[in-house]
């Protein structure tokens, strides 16, 4: 089991005063079978007039708040502690054939069976895409084991697409990413999800953090970490399994899940309606530090 302490600070500086704002943050890690969030504290400055906490439709922690005093700077800091179990190892070759997915769905529980449908359908930011299907086809040959096929898809995206920060923005359509073969982690997650859904397989968008190591021989710098995004695919006999096309690997005990949904729109870390403000400058600082590392047999 790994234990992490994560601090995530988001700071907006506005050119004009903001008279009030209403916001919603999905920044506190969720609890999952393999992940326990021991605590998560959100601190907002200036202090909100009121705030509410709830768990949304997808099980994510939502912290909503509104500020009614004039301000020109908004800071949201979240400090969380999360423990993550080492995943049981899965054999890529022994998983069931991807094209028998529907027949094997009965192995899952009732709730899972129903929710799987949420993640097969197109979603607001991942519309049906013929080019994604074209791209997916070569990984999904008849009878190929599901995990092996998804792993191959992950591998291909990693090799075919260039990681290029600044190329895409939140509003870049998937088609542009496919055409130019570049993007960032959320584009790759969206692409992989579109591919899987085009094959009739359920896939879920995951936002969170990944523990990173400093370059060899160098100390780890403060704030060097960042938010990350990957995807989950549903394996009837096992449950949801994470794949990270950006780093060409399956999610492991270094992946900290914050929120899950159909696509980025469901898990947006921070959204809000702001009155006034003019333009804004945004800085984000994330630190993921390991507090404990236990190994169990």
């Amino acid at each position: 089991m790994n234990t992490f302490r994560i601090t995530h600070t988001t700071r907006y500086v506005y050119t004009d005063p903001v008279s009030r704002c209403h916001n919603e943050a999905r920044m506190s890690p969720m609890n999952l079978p393999h992940q326990t969030c021991a605590f998560s504290k959100v601190h907002v400055s200036p202090s909100p007039r009121s705030s509410f906490q709830r768990i949304d439709y997808f099980g994510n922690n939502v912290f909503s708040f509104d500020i009614h005093q004039q301000h020109q700077e908004l800071t949201i800091s979240v400090i969380s502690e999360v423990a993550i179990d080492k995943p049981c190892s899965l054999s890529l070759e022994n998983s069931l054939p991807w094209d028998q997915f529907t027949e094997h769905l009965e192995q899952a529980n009732k709730h899972q069976q129903l929710m799987v449908h949420e993640f097969i359908l197109p979603s607001p930011q991942i519309p049906q895409s013929a080019s994604a299907k074209d791209y997916a086809l070569s990984s999904f040959t008849p009878g190929r084991p599901l995990l092996d096929a998804v792993n191959d898809l992950t591998h291909r995206i990693y090799n075919d697409f260039k990681y290029e920060p600044g190329f895409s923005s939140l509003s870049t359509p998937l088609e542009t990413v496919i055409e130019h073969r570049k993007g960032v982690c959320q584009d790759f997650a969206h692409l992989a999800i579109a591919c899987l859904r085009s094959m009739g397989l359920p896939a879920m968008y995951v936002s969170g953090y990944l523990e990173t190591d400093p370059p060899p021989g160098k100390p780890k710098l403060t704030g060097a970490d960042a938010s990350h995004a990957w995807l989950n695919v549903f394996i009837p006999e096992h449950g949801w399994q994470g794949f990270d096309p950006t780093n060409n690997q399956m999610a492991n005990e270094r992946y900290i899940v914050v929120a899950q949904g159909r696509d980025y729109a469901d898990v947006t870390p921070l959204k809000g309606v702001v009155y006034g403000g003019g333009h804004h400058h945004l800085t984000v600082q994330v630190d993921v530090t390991r507090t404990h590392s236990h190994t169990f047999n």
């Binding site: 449908h117 920060p165 939140l170 982690c185 780093n247 469901d266 809000g272 309606v273």
Partner: protein, 863 residues
């Protein structure tokens, strides 16, 4: 003359109608093998014993007039030359027998209950999905399934408070459901309006035939709304939320708000603070307990629902979640407007109610299931294709080319779960007046239900709409078109209840008297300013035209100079530079007509009469709920005159009479407002707007006339022109005989507190009005507005006519000019201060999104 002789008697007329009927059709009036008139129609036909085109001629015109005068038009947002899409009312109602209605009513009540259960289930347990009663795609793929609304409930057993069902009768005599309306069904207000108009146009028939009345329904609606407030709360404030005047059915929103007695508000009028909803009113923030919304689901909360909505209230859904406000219908109810559900309703009714579905829907195949998809593709041309979400849009394969059909089929195959195929049943017809002929027409009836005390109450009647053609594939106009009143015969007269009785054990609803949304206050202020600006411009235009008409070859140089000064004054007053100023002033003044006509009719030109009137109409329409019906009629008259101004006669004389009419109508409007609007906050702001504008116009014109030091003769003519322009010449003559001196003129036009056209009159009035406004800080000192107007009034009070008429060595009226300038800048400052203190100045809202997720370069990760 037509070739056939028009029928003279009702009998002939009915016989002629009969001949139009096709044998296999079901008609509402004629029935049976032998074709006889149904008993339900007998009383009406007896009443209208001369049921003939001529007998209906008058009622039809009257209906048209009333609809127009009441502004009952869809999409009124009156843009300059755009003609309004008006709504026609056929004076011949649809008549249903009581027993027939009772069957239908039971079916409708069951349906409302069923849809309430579906709504509760889909945002609650989702048993329907878990037990495979409906396929998950039908819900998950429907954009109306708003996940943020999951598990959100009103503190009440019923969630669906208001429901509408479109039905039609099949050729077999059976009623069929065509569609369900659940998020903010429109039409109940139109149905009420139809009935009101019927009472006006065929009063005898309405008196002697016992038809179920409509008001019980609206009473139930009120009771149901009141019950939404928890029993412990001792005050309940209800508002009607509208997307605003640009919305197609805005008229109805205003009509319902007025009829139910709730303030009409827009998203900007509301704000969420401390998890509660507040109305920004003239007197500060006021709690809102219940929102009756006419805004779509997605537009209601830009934070949690559709992010780019400009009509919503950020944080609203959280307030609903906290149960500090009840919204009706609940957010997310558009999931029920899903034609795909129709295919599963019998099973749903069994599952949720344990009952058989009473009212069948037209045959519907949801393409998400293979056999249904096959059926739809095979019977393509016999069906109507509808997306499960799409605001009533539909496709008619029968009317498509083979290529178009193929495209549609491909679209369906790509996302089969997003489409249904629907049967187009053979429908019954009802007699309808079309161009003086009685013809059978297809109809559909929108019926309405509201929840009250654990059950659903149906409106005994509804809005009947006529299909726009009579052949094969008919399309229903969603807006406009011909409507009918719907009569449900009753064996006894409904007991009238006019005043709102207290529901037993219910909660007293605190009235909103005196609570005016800030936005409405601002609109009223601008209505006042625009109407005064229109009047001021019209008066000056008229005065100038008089002068032009009186200029002949004998006109003196002084006459001409006077005209030039007035023309320049017009340009300055209306702020339409260059106009009659600048280098070629002389030339333009010699040929003033083109510029004058442009100032009257050019609606694109800011400051022209047409533009000012259009702005007036727009502002008045945005507070449609605050005008009495008589007042609205004068607003409508002003709209008519605006229409005439767009094509003004080239003859100035005709234009003058047009202006005369406009001025009289404007006076009627302001007079009616003073007599029919309660003299409270709203009226104070309206009057403030008028008084401030009138002062500013007068100052501007007086400055133009007397700041140039012209020779005595010209000045003399100008004094006279000003007196005429201000309707003060007669007073002047009576008071001062014919002794026309600057001193007397200024006494009457500037300082006279008793002359409603004098500057002093306006200023003192403004002073009183400002004292009446709610002052937010109850301190023992004057507010900023009070201080400004006090300074202005004092300055005027200290002035004398003699002082004002004094000239400097250069012959200029320095004291006067200085006084006018001081008044002018004070008034502008006052308007500005009022704006900041009282009006809702919502800043531009923008969306805040966090940076896209990024991680350090992948190769830095040690895998």
């Amino acid at each position: 003359m037509t070739s056939t002789t028009p029928p003279q008697t009702s009998d002939e007329w009915l016989q002629q109608y009969r001949q139009h009927l096709k044998p296999e059709f079901h008609d509402e009036m004629w029935s049976g093998e032998q074709l006889s008139i149904k008993p339900a129609w007998q009383p009406l036909i007896q009443q209208l014993n001369s049921l003939s085109p001529s007998a209906f001629h008058k009622p039809r015109l009257e209906a048209k007039r009333l609809l127009q005068e009441n502004g009952t038009t869809y999409n009124v947002h009156s843009q300059a030359n755009q003609s309004l899409r008006s709504w026609q009312l056929d004076p011949l109602p649809l008549v249903l027998a009581e027993n027939e209605w009772q069957n239908l009513e039971r079916g409708l009540q069951q349906r409302a209950l069923l849809f309430d259960c579906i709504l509760q289930d889909l945002y609650g347990e989702r048993r329907l999905l878990k037990q495979n009663v409906i396929p998950p795609e039908l819900v998950f793929a429907h954009p109306g399934f708003q996940r943020p609304c999951d598990q959100v409930r009103l503190a009440l057993s019923h969630q669906l408070m208001h429901f509408a069902v479109d039905i039609a009768r099949g050729a077999d005599g059976q009623f069929w459901v065509l569609a369900d309306r659940a998020q903010n069904p429109s039409g109940a207000g139109y149905a009420l309006e139809c009935r009101m108009i019927m009472n006006r146009i065929i009063p005898e028939a309405m008196r002697s035939i016992t038809v179920h009345r409509l008001y019980h329904f609206f009473q139930s609606w009120r009771n149901g709304l009141q019950a939404l407030v928890s029993q412990h709360s001792d005050e309940a404030r209800i508002v009607v939320l509208t997307p605003g005047p640009d919305n197609d059915t805005y008229y109805e929103h205003a009509y319902l708000a007025t009829y139910l007695g709730y303030p009409l508000v827009q998203g900007d009028d509301l704000t969420v603070r401390d998890g509660k909803v507040w109305l920004k009113s003239l007197a500060g923030l006021q709690r809102v307990d219940i929102i009756l919304r006419k805004t779509d689901d997605l537009s209601c909360d830009p934070l949690e629902l559709q992010q780019d909505s400009q009509q919503g209230v950020p944080g609203l859904l959280q307030a609903v979640r906290n149960q500090t406000v009840a919204i009706n219908n609940p957010l997310g109810s558009s999931i029920l407007e899903n034609p795909g559900l129709l295919a599963f309703l019998p099973a749903i009714a069994k599952n949720l109610l344990g009952e058989t579905l009473q009212l069948p829907a037209v045959g519907t195949w949801w393409c998400g299931q293979k056999p249904a998809l096959e059926h739809v593709l095979t019977n393509f041309e016999k069906l109507v294709i509808k997306p499960i979400f799409g605001n009533g849009s539909c496709y008619y394969p029968a009317l498509m080319t083979a290529e178009e059909q193929q495209q549609l089929k491909d679209k369906i195959k790509q996302m089969p779960y997003f489409y249904v195929g629907q049967q187009q049943p053979q429908l019954a017809t009802t007699p309808t007046l079309i161009n003086d002929e009685l013809l059978p027409r297809y109809y559909q009836l929108r019926t309405f239900l509201v929840a009250e005390g654990g059950s659903y109450v149906a409106l005994p009647g509804g809005l009947t709409r006529i299909a726009n053609n009579n052949e094969g594939w008919f399309q229903w106009q969603t807006n406009g078109g011909i409507s009918k009143d719907t009569w449900i015969l009753s064996h006894e007269v409904d007991r009238p209840i006019r005043l709102q009785p207290m529901a037993p054990g219910g909660v007293a609803v605190q009235s909103y008297e005196g609570i005016l949304p800030s936005r409405a206050a601002e609109s009223l202020f601008w209505v006042g300013r625009y109407i005064e600006r229109a009047e001021g411009s019209s008066r000056l235009l008229r005065t100038i035209m008089d002068h032009i008409n009186n200029q002949d070859e004998f006109a003196s140089e002084a006459d001409q100079q006077c005209l030039y000064v007035l023309l320049t004054g017009l340009t300055v007053m209306t702020n339409t530079l260059p106009g009659f100023t600048g280098e070629d002033t002389k030339q333009k003044c010699k040929q003033p007509n083109p510029e004058l006509i442009s100032l009257v009719r050019d609606s694109e030109r800011v400051g022209s009469l047409a533009q000012v009137l259009a702005a007036f109409l727009h502002a008045s329409f945005s507070v449609r709920d605050l005008w009495s019906s008589d007042t609205w009629r004068t607003i409508d008259d002003i709209d008519d005159i605006l229409g005439q101004l767009y094509c003004p006669p080239t003859d100035l004389g005709d234009l003058q009479s047009c202006l005369d009419e406009l001025i009289t109508t404007i006076m009627a409007f302001t007079g009616l407002t003073a007599e029919s609007m309660p003299h409270e906050s709203g009226w104070y702001l309206f009057d403030l707007g008028r008084r401030i504008e009138r002062s500013l116009l007068q100052i501007s014109l007086t400055q133009s006339c007397f700041s140039q030091g012209l020779d005595d003769t010209v000045e003399h003519l100008l004094q006279e022109a000003l007196l005429v322009n201000n309707e003060s010449l007669i007073t002047h003559r009576r008071r001062y005989r014919s002794l026309q001196q600057m001193e007397n003129t200024l006494a009457l036009l500037i300082l006279d507190e008793t002359n409603p056209r004098a500057l002093a009159y306006q200023i003192y009035r403004i002073q009183r009005l400002i004292d009446h406004l709610p002052h937010r800080h109850q301190q023992r000192e004057y507010s900023a507005e009070q201080r400004i107007i006090l300074a202005t009034a004092t300055r005027l009070r200290l002035a004398t006519a003699n002082m004002l008429a004094q000239r400097g060595e250069d012959g200029q009226l320095h004291v006067l000019i200085e006084l006018l300038e001081a008044c002018n800048s004070n008034l502008l400052e006052l308007a500005n201060t009022l704006h900041h203190t009282y009006f809702s100045h919502t800043e531009q809202a923008q969306q805040l999104t966090s940076m896209s997720a990024e991680i350090a370069m992948p190769n830095e990760v040690n895998v």
